[in-house]
Amino acid sequence: MKKIISIVLLSLVLTSCDKEFLEKKPNAALLVPQKPVELQALLDNDTRMNVTPPIGLIAADDYYTTPAGLQTLTLSEERNSYLWLKDVFENESVEDWNNPYIQVFYANVVLDRLNEIEDTGSEELQTIRGHALFCRAFAFYNLTQIFCKPYESAQANVVPGIPIKLSSNIHEKYTRGTLKLTYDQIVSDLKQAADLLPLQAKLKTRPSKAAALSLMARVFLTMENYEQAEKFADDALELQSTLIDYNTLTTTLTRPLPAVLPYGNEEVIYYAYFISYRFLFYTQNQTIVNPVIYSSFSANDLRKGVLFNDRGAGVVNFKSGFTGSSNVFSGLAVNELYLIRSECRARKGDIGGSLSDLNTLLLKRWKKGTFVALTAATSEAALKLVLQERRKELFGRGNRWEDLRRLNKDPRFAITLTRQVNSDTYTLPPNDNRYVFPIPLNEIRSSGISQNER
């Protein structure tokens, strides 16, 4: 009897240890993100946070593909966006929409948690907050370039934007708001980020202050606010302005540019790359560089060999650019800043300033001793030069799609794109509704937000 009592007592004693006993994590790899280092780990998930949607690039005119290449594309959205068809996604779920919003969600999880942590003003916490804000803004911006109409200040209060999610609460209701609200949020996130981010990021996959300023310059350029664009390009160049001299590179290599990680590329400000759709996959040799662009490079222009692989018989493939790996670069770099500032200066009539930026850049791109500085008589001539160089220098980075949307509004630069597949011709006139992609059906069905006309 005594034994039984003692056993019962023992069991009662043991039960009092329950709490500790049950605290053990069911899976050691699981964590509830709380500590700064864990929040940083979320933002360092580069395959999520440093990828951008490639669908605009596919629909733009940097590349063309052969009928054989078209047949081998795995996703229907690749084929359909290439041909500018009305139905792009064929009712499938789409990474071009999902992934940027996953980035927004990660950023919001981090920001919500930071709001709970007592702000000691520590640099670590500030950097993480800036990082999250930057990622959120970058994701929003990339979405607007695919799913919203091009920005026109007169219309921005009427045209629908994209859902602006600012909290990690997944049950919070949302609508599309206006395009103005969307851009306002992007700008405000970036302004805060620029104040919080360090001058030097530990890794190129993490944003620095220059990254926030560079993106701001790009955003204002897209908004056709050239004054602000110039200002931010200027600010960013203050912090980072090194250009790689292509004379130091071996053009015959498969990857002439140094891999950004882990070796470093001084010209890169923020590392991002396209989601690797088949169209852009390095084995897809049927994705061929637009011959108009390729032929516009002079023989002494080193970019011809650094960026492109000429296989003969008209097959020219892109060498994936600033990543220095098989991923295709879509991030921020110094060359873009020079081009933004040059364009803004040309537009306000500062021909000298404009050409000085352009020549600074090109000097590093041409064979030593062969480059003759560009000149222009009028600001319009200077603008034309800048835009031409912009198209060449930023090849394959996704800027072309944004530029087409922006520049088509100006009759001087508006163009109609065409595709030829066997006997079928497809065209995309300027300012066509098909410059805006439809919102994927699963989003419309679940949240009821409004669809784009296409």
């Binding site: 039984i4 043991l14 049950l22 050691a28 509830v32 580069d46 052969t66 009712n91 990680l261 937000i449």
Partner: protein, 1058 residues
């Protein structure tokens, strides 16, 4: 272990012998050693006898040579012939008669209770029924013998009991081995050690298991010895032979169709991309021939004749001959058991050797099981110990036909005209991963051989895993005062699964990995980042479990009319799994040495010079932990042996679901009543000699360890390939409202038996509701997640379980039948958000309010366009070919719901005949009231030159075909929407109803006359998977198996008792 064996021998030696002629005796139950008062003891040749007194004792005048018949209701009559050795005190143990409905004892894992005193739904499968089937494992023997227990062909669980009241949480029933939930590999249990299995189906039966009981509970009771019983030895052996699998069962595009398609695509330039690819992508032999013809390398006529030869080849023939064979499973089992006055024991050894139908695969299992129970302190203290040890080795050298692909890089399937061996059986190479021109050139430059011959790979494979599992049990029961006892039980279990795959230097995998990163230096030497030698993959998984239970039992009778059985206790459980996988490169088997490699650097790829790659790093480890603390109580009250009341409750707390204690506990309870109507004085219905009514109501629960109330993230143990930094991915968005799933059940049952046991059976009807079920619903992607897991759903089910046993003939020929019938209807009653039409038609596991949990949904089929053979659906009521719109405009409301994807009416009919020593039994089973989606051709794969379903040959080809076929014509370009419309149309939603002749068994009882010393022997034959007797749909396919069907097996065996 050694001690246990030693102990057995001591017991054997200790058998005493005495002799006397005047008899004092005692009648005891062999099961629990309790006295049987009122037993009848009769001497042969005399009409009257004596009855035993309240302590089971009797006095009788008898002499040596006299024969006594000792009988007791519910027990088998025992015949004892008095010999010189019978002794002064004759103790007679009577065995329970399993055929008697009344005396079945069911086990819940906490207590054993006579089924008669139970209010819940228990089904007991006794030893003879378990042994009817021949199998290596235990669980498959439950198929078709427990009403309401279904083996699923589809879905997230292998077994479900009374439907599946969960969506995404664990859907398997809880398996309890003796006292504790089974952790480990269920296939390690030797079925010959199993005495009986109790299946707990309703709340009253199962809710003692709380949050783990929502899917029902299967309690496996192993064999034990008993007190005062001489040594018994049983031996069982059998050989089970299975037919060679039929690889031609699944319809596939013929070689001729496949080649014609390749020629068509080639003419369209489809292969151009692969031909010019920088990755040297492989081309099939036909495409290589077409290129050779195009380039004028081989004359066109010669190419055509070679292609014609290829058209007649079918690789499945080679697979069948060289990769598959008949399976042969051998099983041997020996056990010894018995007991003395204060100790009993059971010891068994088992050995299984299975030759798999896949060449070079097989299983060897060795098991030892021993248990021992002692009584001390005037029988007040009972101590039991036990050990179960299993060691098995599994060879996995052959991964089957589908593992041999055309390209492991793209995953494309092998061309159907490949040959694996020449006529003399020598392995042949196939085109694989790269173009042969490329690999040949590489080898000529000095790289390792780069050919791939699947048969040679099979012969060279060395892949196995070894499972070592043991459980140690200890138990202490102390009878404090009559009726009150306390017990402590503890179990420690450990399972170690070690896997080892040696990819030696001759294996294609290793050669390929080395070659693809090799660089040829300007001086002609090689740089090989991945060193020469073998690759060794190893894995270890260790499972440790501890259970500790303390329990008080109070069983007491007050006067004649009141009986109370109750338990209450506390339980503690900790199960943890540690697993680690690692790989060694440059491995030298002889000296067990490996080489260090550089995992970081991106090396130029030899096979795709524009690409780079790192050396694959596959090392990983995982630590899982599952902890529970539970409190339980159960009480039964029996009045006048005919009124029964039971209540049960349990509270579980665990470490899953995050850290908030409030979320961790859930009280679950049940109550039941029973009434043995035939026990009433006024009950006069003589043809129905036994009638019991019972009802129960209560809750059990279920858990989903992957759900959490907090934002959880998984930390990547390695680091990002790019940044070398640790990173984390979010798994769960926060969900503060998360709750445990509950299952509410109401059960009504009737047990009956007619006079002379001609018909007996059980009818039960039940309602079963799944509440707060965790479900995944599609979510607006702008929230950051595309799917949301939460307590989104509930289900409502009802059903009927019926068991009817009849004794049709009871003369020289005995004929009994057992009919099982279950009806299950389970519907989703609420599901917060509807899924999309696309999700419903494509995945049948999407819950839809008002429909079955697993349903078949389709687009309405409008036939084929008579002009073009294009498939048509309905748009605004009219036939349409606007595929994009047909799919995008479809809503959950407009698609057609055919019905449940799981059978609603399930059952079996077993007939058993015996004549003299011969017994024969066969079983029919049926599954009715359900649908399945038939596979057919999808042109996306066909137009991607990857072949497809055999329906290709039945496709629409010319006007008029639409009357004969519903397979659409070949489109010019592939179109997902067109494929989807057809694949998910009503044209391919088929009725699954069928009746199957499952098995038959024949046995011959050799009795004890054959060999001296053998008290019984039986030889038996068993044939399984005999075929379909009837099905609702035409065509050759088995509705439950679309790709491979189970093969017929025939077994022969021998059982002996000493």
């Amino acid at each position: 272990m050694k001690y246990i064996i030693l102990f057995i021998f001591l017991i054997l030696v200790a058998q005493q012998s005495r002799s006397q002629n005047v008899i004092t005796g005692k009648v005891l139950s062999s099961k629990d050693n309790l006295p049987l008062p009122g037993a009848s003891i009769r001497m042969a040749g005399m009409k009257t006898g004596v009855t035993s007194s309240s302590d089971g004792s009797f006095f009788l005048d008898a002499r040596t040579g006299d024969t006594l018949y000792i009988s007791y209701i519910g027990y088998k009559t025992r015949v004892v012939t008095l010999s010189e050795n019978s002794g002064k005190l004759l103790t007679v143990f009577l065995d329970e008669d399993d055929n008697t409905l009344d005396e079945v004892v069911v086990s819940t894992g906490y207590q054993s209770i006579p089924k008669e005193r139970a209010t819940g739904s228990f089904v007991q499968v006794d030893n003879s029924l378990l042994n009817r089937r021949v199998s290596t494992d235990v669980l498959s023997r439950l198929e078709d013998v427990v009403p309401g227990l279904v083996f699923n062909r589809e879905g997230s669980s292998q077994i479900s009991i009374r439907g599946q009241s969960t969506i995404s949480a664990n859907a398997e029933p809880l398996i309890v081995l003796d006292n504790f939930p089974f952790e480990g590999d269920i296939s390690s249990i030797n079925p010959n050690d199993v005495e009986s299995i109790s299946v707990l189906k309703d709340a009253a039966a199962a809710s003692i298991w709380g949050t783990r009981a929502g899917n029902g509970v299967i309690v496996i009771t192993t064999k034990k010895g008993s007190y005062n019983r001489p040594l018994k030895i049983a031996y069982n052996m059998n050989v089970n032979v299975g037919a060679r699998p039929d690889l031609f069962y699944e319809p596939r595009m013929s070689s001729e169709d496949y080649i014609n398609m390749e020629q068509l695509l080639f003419s369209r330039g489809f292969h151009r991309a692969a031909e010019t690819s920088t990755t040297n992508a492989p081309l099939t032999p036909v495409v290589e021939l077409l290129i050779a013809a195009r380039d004028g390398v081989i004359p066109t006529a010669q190419v055509e004749s070679q292609i014609n030869t290829l058209k007649s080849q079918d690789v499945r023939k080679d697979f069948s001959n060289h990769f598959y064979r008949k399976s042969v499973n051998q099983q041997y089992a020996l056990n010894l058991n018995g007991g003395a006055e204060r100790q009993h024991y059971y010891v068994s050894v088992g050995y299984d050797k299975n030759q798999s139908s896949l060449v070079r695969n097989g299983l060897e299992r060795f098991s030892i099981n021993a248990s021992n129970t002692y009584r001390f302190a005037k029988d007040k203290l009972q101590v039991s110990t036990g050990i179960q040890y299993t060691e098995s080795r599994n060879n996995n050298n052959n991964r089957g036909m589908s593992s041999i692909r055309f390209s492991d890089i793209t995953g494309n399937a092998l061309y159907p005209y490949a040959r694996l061996a020449d006529d003399s059986g020598m392995p042949l190479t196939i085109n694989h991963d790269y173009r042969s021109a490329f690999t040949k050139k590489a080898v000529s430059q000095g790289l390792l051989d780069w050919e791939y011959a699947p048969l040679q790979e099979l012969n060279n494979a060395d892949n196995n895993d070894r499972l070592t599992e043991y459980r140690l049990n200890g138990g202490l029961v102390y009878n404090v005062i009559p009726g009150l006892s306390g017990e402590v039980r503890y179990q420690y279990g450990r399972g170690l699964n070690q896997s080892r795959e040696l990819l030696n230097e001759n294996s294609y995998y290793t050669r390929n990995q080395i070659n693809r990163l090799t660089t040829i230096n300007p001086d002609g030497s090689f740089t090989r980042p991945l060193p020469l030698g073998s690759i060794l993959n190893s894995g270890n998984e260790v499972l440790n479990s501890h259970f500790l239970r303390t329990q008080l039992n109070y069983n007491h009778s007050f006067g004649k009319d009141h009986v109370i059985n109750s338990i209450a206790g506390w339980e503690w459980r900790d199960a943890s799994t540690h697993s680690a996988n690692y790989r060694l490169y440059g491995y030298d088997e002889e000296h067990a040495q490996s080489k260090a490699v550089d995992y970081i650097t991106q090396f130029r790829r030899f096979d795709a010079p524009t690409g780079t790659a790192t050396i694959p790093y596959v090392d990983q480890q995982q630590e899982l932990s599952n902890r529970y603390v539970s409190y339980f109580a159960n009480a039964g009250y029996n009045y006048k042996q005919r009124y029964i009341l039971s209540v049960s409750g349990r509270m579980d707390r665990s470490n899953i679901f995050g850290v908030d204690a409030n979320q961790k506990g859930v009280p679950l309870w049940s109550a039941g009543i029973g009434w043995i109507m035939s026990g009433e004085d006024w009950y006069k219905t003589s043809y129905l000699s036994y009638l019991k009514l019972r009802a129960s109501y209560g809750y059990s629960g279920n858990t989903d360890p992957s759900a959490s109330a907090y934002t959880t993230a998984s930390y990547n143990s390695g680091s990002s390939a790019l940044t070398r930094q640790p990173f984390a991915a979010i798994l769960n968005p926060p969900n503060p409202e998360l709750r445990w799933e509950r299952v509410r059940m109401f059960n009504l049952g009737v047990d009956f038996q007619t006079r002379n046991d001609v018909i007996s059976g059980t009818i039960e009807a039940y309602y079963k509701n799944g509440l707060d079920l965790i479900g995944t619903i599609p979510f607006a992607p702008a929230t950051g997640i595309t799917q949301f897991r939460g307590n989104n759903a509930s289900t409502s089910g009802h059903g009927v379980d019926l068991t009817l046993n009849s004794l049709n003939l009871n003369g020289r020929i005995k004929w009994t039948s057992n009919l099982l019938f279950s009806f299950i209807s389970e519907k989703v009653t609420s599901h917060k958000v509807k899924s999309t039409a696309t999700a419903y038609v494509q995945t049948w596991s999407q819950p839809y309010e008002g429909n079955a949990l697993y349903g078949i949904y389709s687009y309405q089929w409008a036939g084929l366009d008579p002009q073009t053979g294009d498939p048509m659906g309905f748009l605004d009521g009219k036939p349409s070919k606007d595929y994009s719109k047909l799919i995008s405009s479809a809503t959950p409301e407009t698609i057609i719901y055919s019905g449940s994807a799981r059978p609603q009416y399930i059952g079996s009919l077993r007939n058993n005949l015996s004549w003299r020593n011969l017994s024969f039994s066969f079983m029919l089973n049926y599954r009715l009231g359900y649908y399945y989606r038939q596979a057919s051709v999808r042109y996306a794969t066909v137009l991607n030159a990857q072949g497809g379903h055999g329906d290709f040959s039945n496709r629409w080809q010319k006007p008029g075909d639409e009357l004969l076929t519903s397979v659409p014509s070949l489109p010019a370009t592939s179109n997902n929407n067109r494929d989807n419309l057809y694949s998910y149309s009503t044209a391919l939603a088929k009725r699954g109803d069928h009746i199957r002749l499952q098995d038959l068994t024949l046995s011959y009882d050799l009795g004890n006359k054959i060999v001296r010393g053998i008290s019984g022997a039986q030889i038996y034959l068993y044939a399984n998977n005999l075929g379909i007797v009837w099905k609702a749909e035409d065509g050759p396919l088995d509705p439950d198996y679309q790709t491979m069907r189970p093969v017929r097996t025939v077994a022969a065996g021998l059982r002996m008792n000493f």
